[in-house]
């Protein structure tokens, strides 16, 4: 039976799972503890070619999941989170490339995380789940890529926390990444970004329902998680985009009531965002993933980002957003500068956009133009794929 799909859509997709690191071969984590067995949720769109050289790995951000494109059923209200970028004829053209979208460990979207059952106890891990890092997430994804039989990824791409995974991939497995695209990313969390994450965690941990992380089967810390999401959401928008979207508009009324209900549209919007998030996300996962972000500092152990990135071999397309104040353009320039001084091929584009950090989900046209051509020229067979200054090795 022919599958009917919407124009430009990958159509109906399914969430797949891969389980590995069965005892006694658990994954040794950066914190020194071990984790296993590990299940990783992922989706694929498009077909692999014969030598599996057309594979693109998509890494998602803090609150994302493996469902990047298409729908699970025709009746789904919304497609995957990057559906405007992944599909036939789109930036990641699934008629040409095989896109693999992977969830990460610590998450709550089908992969092993604090809400998963600990096989040793038969109960959810909760607070006994080990601390994971971006590097651990990449290790788990690497096992998935091995499992899929892919030697070298044509491209690893991701925005925000996804961009951290991209950078980690390029450094940890230089021979397995041909093109790297960190978008609205940073090579190390700034004090300000850590501070916002910390406030979000405090909101969760201050919720009496959190119960030191042992709340599964009971009422969940939805108030705390909702507040954490609100704080996060503010950092994803720019001051200008908030002003344009809400201004001082009142919510469903024409005059002030002088009380503490959500009087302004922006308040009600944040409430809505918080409530929606609580329905689909686990509070402990939020704690663990934000910690993984906070620990991320690619310049370590030497303190010199250039030295860490000297391991990378990929060609890079680095994209930042002019109005992003969570990971501002200077953080991307820092990455570009370190790559440049390692004589690596790098293109850097700063998107002129008012959307703030979230622009990587919204500035579809500009990103499509950049990404389509970059994928084109980075393909191994392309005669122009070696055209830059970086042909000579670093002295």
């Amino acid at each position: 039976m022919a599958v009917v799909r919407e124009e430009g859509s990958v159509g109906i997709v399914e969430l797949k799972k891969f389980t590995f690191a069965e005892p006694p071969n658990e994954l040794r984590l950066e914190c020194g503890m071990t984790l296993g067995p590990i299940t990783l949720a992922y989706e694929t769109y498009g077909e692999m070619n014969a030598d599996k050289s057309n594979c693109v790995l998509v890494c998602h951000a803090l609150s994302g999941d493996a469902h990047a494109a298409g729908k699970y059923t025709p009746d789904d209200s919304k497609p995957g989170w990057w559906d405007n970028m992944i599909g036939p004829g789109k930036a990641f053209d699934t008629d040409r490339y095989c896109v693999i979208s992977s969830n990460f460990i610590g998450g709550c979207k089908g992969s092993t995380g604090p809400a998963s059952i600990d096989p040793k106890t038969g109960k959810p891990y909760g607070p006994t789940f080990p601390m994971v890092t971006v590097s651990d997430m990449v290790e788990a994804q690497r096992a998935l890529i091995d499992h899929l039989g892919i030697d070298q990824l044509l491209c690893v791409v991701g925005g925000s926390t996804g961009g951290m995974q991209v950078l980690q991939w390029a450094v940890s497995y230089p021979d397995r990444v041909r093109l790297a695209m960190p978008i609205a990313a940073t090579a190390r969390m700034s004090a300000q970004s850590i501070a916002f994450n910390a406030v979000g965690r405090h909101a969760i941990m201050a919720d009496p329902n959190w119960r030191n992380g042992d709340y599964y089967g009971k009422s969940i810390p939805s108030r705390g998680l909702g507040i954490a999401r609100m704080i996060g959401h503010i950092t994803y928008l720019s001051e200008k985009s908030m002003h344009q979207k809400f201004g001082r508009d009142l919510q469903d009324k024409s005059s002030l009531d002088y009380d503490f209900v959500a009087e302004f549209k922006v308040e009600s919007y944040l409430n809505y965002r918080g409530d929606e998030f609580v329905k689909r996300f686990d509070a402990n996962s939020y704690l663990y993933i934000t910690k993984a972000m906070d620990y991320f500092d690619l310049s370590q152990p030497s303190g010199d980002l250039r030295r860490t990135l000297s391991a990378a071999k990929a060609a890079f397309l680095v994209i930042s957003v002019s109005s992003d104040w969570l990971f501002p353009p200077y953080m991307s320039r820092e990455i570009v500068s370190a790559l440049r001084r390692n004589n690596l091929d790098v293109s850097y584009a700063e998107l002129q956009s008012d959307y703030g950090h979230d622009a990587f989900l919204l500035e579809v046209d500009a990103m499509t133009r950049l990404i389509q051509s970059f994928l084109e020229y980075g393909r191994p067979s392309h005669p122009k794929s070696r055209c830059s200054l970086a042909d000579t090795p670093t002295p």
């Binding site: 001084r341 790098v346 293109s347 850097y348 500009a366 950049l370 970059f374 055209c387």
Partner: protein, 201 residues
Amino acid sequence: MTDKIRPEFKYIVDMVEPDSKVLDLGCGEGHLLKLLQREKRARVQGIELSDTAIQECVANGLFVYHGDLDEGLADFNDQSVDYVILTNTIQVLHRPDFLIEEAARVGRRCIISIPNFGYWRIRFQLAFHGTMPRTKSLPYEWYNSPNIHLTTLHDFRRFCRERGLRIVRETDLVQGDGKSRTVGLLPNFFADYGIFMLERE
């Protein structure tokens, strides 16, 4: 800055040795870089401020990055490229002298092209009409011109002397309709455009 294939590009392409590494500062949509790639098998890279121009460069398969030239070239190692090119760019910078020094640090040679403010039409407009000059290479009104540091060929040569930059080659041009010809006689008067290849003495 206009960004088509400008007539002077062919003179610049002639100056570049085959198989060189080239960095174009203010590369626009990358037309000169494409030309150098095609004609001279050059390995090329550009820096550009406009994000739409950058998208165009990437679409053309060029490695390019967003950067403000007034901030210099801190990401580039000394003498790491064969040619640093600045076409029709230095006059819009806040500190042209700083960037030229940077270009001479990063490139073994620099190719710099400038509009000549000593061109006779410019002198005549100012002398006899008493108006701010407008020419083919300087088409702006006084109030909307991006050109804040204009120079004559004389001034530029003196600058190079004072900064220890040797002029290896100089090609002076006068631009007609869509094409240019070289000027041998009194270039500071008859040429409206100069291309200099410089190297550190």
